[in-house]
Symmetry: C2
Subunit: 103 residues, 2 copies
């Protein structure tokens, strides 16, 4: 994931899922699409095994706030708490340094 | 993952793997064991699909620096660059806020 020279922000979203599907994959992929349209969005990457980890990168705290308050995202968050997630943690982080390797 | 009240630090390590195994899983699990013995270590969580994401949590930048410079970890990092990783990025982050949900 190409990110700018720090500082910028990262949101680390870690979660464990319930057994309920009911639109989860569709909503997850729609949320990525929608986030990509938000001002200040840099990128997102995800993986899930026992725990799911999604890290999204943002230019500013204001950009993160606007995303968290987007009506369609808020609706998805309600569904998440109601049915999709057993547990989750959202951490808002200032990325201070970055080191890249590529062969 | 239980973490203290912010601020604390997170290291976001994202990677893509080569096709080479050659001790990778053993070293990865040994590195978790070893990190757990480091002063200032809080916890670690990982998942891999197309991309691997490992987030470790630390009490301070000094704790992160000591971990990065641990001789056995440095040896693992050399192997990582030589054979296990196609690409990786290490991001050092200050966790400013945290929000938890549990049903």
């Amino acid at each position: 994931m190409k990110t700018p020279k720090p500082p910028y922000y990262a949101v680390i979203f870690t979660s464990t899922r319930t057994l309920v599907d009911d639109g989860y994959a569709e909503t997850a992929s729609r949320m990525v699409q929608l986030a990509e349209t938000m001002p200040g969005f840099i990128g997102v990457e995800s993986a899930r095994e026992e725990v799911g980890i999604t890290v999204s990168y943002w230019k500013s705290l204001d950009a993160i706030k606007a995303w968290q308050q987007h009506p369609e995202h808020m609706e998805a968050q309600r569904h998440g708490r109601k049915k999709w997630y057993e547990t989750f943690t959202t951490r808002i982080c200032l990325v201070e340094r970055e080191n890249e390797f590529s062969r």
